[in-house]
Symmetry: D2
Subunit: 362 residues, 4 copies
């Protein structure tokens, strides 16, 4: 029953949607590292609600207080703890959930698992709000990666089937990664971005929701991070990424498409560049072979299901009356969680990659 | 640099393709459990090479010796260790690998990671042969799951685009799961199976290889196994599954397709059955909500890339001569690893699910 | 660089002596357990400073705020986080430490380890103040143990050679354990307690300090908790206990004295009681054989060194001037840490034992 | 129920006294390290039985086979597995144990814990024989420490009250450590060694046994290894040391004696040596402050209880007849385990220190 992650670092996340506060404890940070709090806040702001027509109107400042681990803005070798107060909670909205579990939500298995004693307000510890402390830890890891010459970035690969231009798996560079991250809607092709927003608005006006796919890339990784078997970089990334609510799949490089390629197509040929570097002509492996980085861009995609909270009436059950029941969810919900999930994916990946990198530095 | 897995149980796998032996240490087994060795061997035999036209002619008995942990065939509370001797090794075949890394293999990152001191014979610890001890541990977990009323099964979902009938995500039953597992080619639709074999043979005759997708299902799971965040059942399963060489993606339930559904389509409505059980009408969640089992069938699919070892000449590099080089791989290799990967996926999933189940029994 | 403890539960402690706050995250609590906050506070109050002539005059309310994990005073299955604000900090007192490391303190190795970027105010993360969050977690575990019929207690075994009556290793009962814990100075023999206080006052008036030994007992433990090798109950307890500053040794049962006994003396003979229970006539094993509990009282003693902060002038070095230097420590310090360490030992032991117990319940 | 140890490295020990084999899996070894097998065997030989009048006549070759992890005698980055066959087993000797638990042994709690399904032959996994694989792992760590300029050594501090000259906690040097280790009876003062042997023989002729204290020292450790709280070097060492059967206590530096010193006596004053090194005049801390190494010799002592298996008749119970019973243990047993425990303490400490050192190198 752990909310902890990490082998070399330890990320322990606490809080419920409506608990007094939530936050993260981060152990294993190197000492003497200046943390750029403003930059950290920018990543947090990218996931914050209430910024767009397509996100919930719940407004949370989501400004972390660093209660330990920093001295004059730099790590001091003690565990870092950051706390976010939960202020804009309207617990009244959720009264019914105790009785009628919301389809697509954790309500039902949580009720059974915890015998009814779990915190049902706002989804409790299963709320997407818990990705805020995840983003704090991820933003720190992102900065630590940057100091090692590693740049990471994320964009919306698709929303409800509308596809953005994917990352070039061989050529993608750091400038591109930084630029797309800074956009309000992180897509390369703004015309596709416009269509994505139309899909979201259409779903919203139908009291419905949509999902999508997020694509991540990291460049500058040294060769040989991660290892085979259970501590491969794919294992570690996936075990962090599935910590984000609504994730239903992950694929590296060519991923599921690789299943339809011939070996001669899928294999990435090595060659020497003019500079004497070793690269591959293609990058179907997504920068990972045998659980280890190849030095090529590390690329994966993540499937995000449509927001389960929709305004339309749904079929469910009444646990107290032990019979079928109708449910109408009121309250504030995103018709599409994908844009706000983008920095979360980035954060989770940064944590996993940094954790693997420490093995390598080792 | 760990080959260990597990939170409640601990699976530690050792060996290289051509080391004197390989095996597994399994800690945390309950005491007094009879292990059906014959049944265990059946699962191992399903992954053994040399049985079919489409698998390598390397012949290994792969009969484990249980050197500790069992007394009169039952667990005794001590760690179980099973050892498989590596007998049919032809190290001569691999001499070139030290110089010319094979595309799609771990050779290159391993060389950099280990500074050239890794065991390159047969791929060393990165060899698919290490899935044999994984299957030993998995077969034990499968038997322990069965004692808890949980049945698991796996079939080939597709090979090179030829699709078998998928599991019915709502209705799939234990009999079906057991039956399909026992087939030499584990597919429901034998006409599709025939076409799959044709695809494999075609690739082989072209000195090429193909990949595919494997689908897993578990039924009988209690509600509420796993938890949110980093210890969800999806996190744990994925971190085990990516331990199998050639896996490039995993998706639960509707998976990547969920990204194109509306929330109203993707949400699985709860209802009371006539028996008073709580079920869902659909099972797009794949039996997992909030990282916890819902009591519906647990379903995931795994993408397997085409075998990287192909007989055709490939482009690569010479590490010693620091220039581009051609490579022709000789030796014995599967033109399609998918059929032999089926029991490995089953084993890894059994381990992960059993590890989660112990939390629940707790 | 971990401040985490636990296999089944996870205790993660954060904070520095003068950071804005300190606290603990507790993962793995069962859901639906009412926590008696008043009782918890009582344990915290036993370690709080400023209560006696023999403890520092630093006054900290040390009242934890539970920011997550509780709903209506009961655990909800989410990680519990408790935060204590650091209010009465006088960082000015510690300015010199950055240059002249205090003998017997962590200053010097911390300076080298963290390259000077550690938080030197009040000893940073090495401060005894961090035992406050430890006591929060321990108080919770103590309550959970009580619900399983397990009673724990601790008394001062000796201060500067003045010995209290030790626990009767065979007969000690729960009433005795509870009673001694509630005393302001937790000793059985008050005349010895008076002499202990005299020793402390004498040391204080000499600008010096004294140490002592603390004895712990637990009764009601089921047989067979813990296991052999690295997860024995002695291993787990000791690895928690050495987390408390100033601990220099631990011994179970007859401990170091066992080294001078014959086997025929040291062996505890089994016998059936009139009730048909299995007990031992003596308890030199301290209730542990082969890393497992025997059902007899679990007994250990812990050596606490004299407080390293003394008022007398001491020899040290100046790190900046790279030469020998004199040091006079000003500020508020306990002339004897033993009385305040008593609840900390109890807390650490409660955590370790509860963590082992979960394995057993399992 | 773990037999695993380590944070950066992972040591997993398997086997029972009479299982076909026992051994160890060692994960996390750096690649490319030559292992001196002869030197490793020397450490194993120091614990091997059958060499002296005071040790059991059971004769086991105890020559490990390295079945994985080594290529041409050097580590290859894959987990190392070493296996020792159990050849000289006389299971018949132990038939009674199933019914009448031996005082001072794990038989009784093991019977309850495992419901009678544990391996009772020779003590099963609780046998001291399992320290043989521990010594394999320890011998490897000792070699890795030596490559980092760290020398460790161990001697018999006392047997049944007869005391050897202790290590000089300030001046002890590497030459001394190596020399004492190579002696058949590792003591400085041979006249005391002679008396120790007399004590052992006297006990043996009385069908009894004796215990003792072992002292360990490590020199050359860098400053700052280990950290505060639960990952201090004392925590890690103690949690490894208590894995050795018969250990009942551990103390660092002045240890329990520190409880009777004044702070002014116990504090170790820092000073600059003529070479500009920072040392302390005394070493009551045993080379550890705040869980971190100080650069001074790391020193601890371990209490070893007298061998519980004695030839004299003892009182116990019959589990089947549920009544008191007499027990006479036949079979081969050491009248004093201390000499053979010396290399085991060395091995466990080497493992713990190396595991901490990896954090530091990090």
């Amino acid at each position: 029953m752990s909310f902890s992650y990490g082998k070399n670092i330890k990320i322990s996340i606490f809080g419920q949607s409506h608990s007094p506060a939530m936050g993260v404890v981060f152990e294993g940070l190197p000492a003497g590292e200046k943390i750029d709090i403003e930059k950290l806040q920018q990543l947090l702001d990218r996931r914050a609600p209430g910024k767009n027509s397509y996100s919930t109107t719940r407004k949370e400042a989501d400004i972390p207080e660093f209660v330990s681990g920093l001295v004059d803005g730099a790590t001091c070798g003690a565990p870092l703890c950051a706390v976010i107060q939960n202020t804009d909670t309207k617990s009244g909205d959720y009264a019914k959930i105790a009785d009628i579990p919301r389809p697509g939500h954790a309500d039902f298995p949580a009720f059974i698992k915890f015998g009814g004693s779990n915190d049902i307000r706002g989804g409790g510890q299963f709320s997407g709000r818990l990705t805020a402390p995840l983003c704090i830890a991820g933003a720190i890891c992102k900065q630590l990666l940057e100091k090692q010459g590693i740049t990471i970035g994320t964009h919306i690969y698709s929303i409800h089937g509308v596809k953005d231009t994917p990352f070039d798996p061989v050529q993608v560079d750091g400038e591109t990664l930084v630029a797309v991250s800074q956009k309000q809607l992180p897509v390369f092709d703004d015309s596709k971005g416009k269509k994505m927003l139309e899909e979201i608005q259409k779903a919203q006006s139908n009291k419905d929701s949509v999902g999508g796919i997020i694509e991540f890339a990291a460049i500058g990784l040294p060769v040989g991070i991660g290892t085979h078997m259970f501590e491969g970089i794919e294992n570690r990334i996936s075990s962090a990424i599935f910590g984000i609510p609504a994730v239903k799949g992950i694929e590296f490089g060519a991923g599921f498409d690789a299943a339809e390629l011939y070996g001669s197509q899928n294999n990435d040929s090595f060659y020497y560049t003019d500079n004497g570097e070793i690269k591959t002509r293609t990058n179907n492996s997504g920068g990972v072979l045998g659980g280890m980085t190849t030095g090529m861009p590390l690329i994966f995609r993540v499937a995000i299901k449509p927001t389960p909270s929709i305004a339309a009436e749904q079929n469910s059950i009444s646990l107290t009356q032990k019979q079928n029941a109708k449910l109408v969810i009121v309250g504030r919900h995103d018709p599409c969680i994908v844009p706000r999930a983008v920095p979360c994916i980035e954060a989770a990946a940064a944590i996993a990659i940094y954790d693997c990198l420490v093995d390598y530095i080792n």
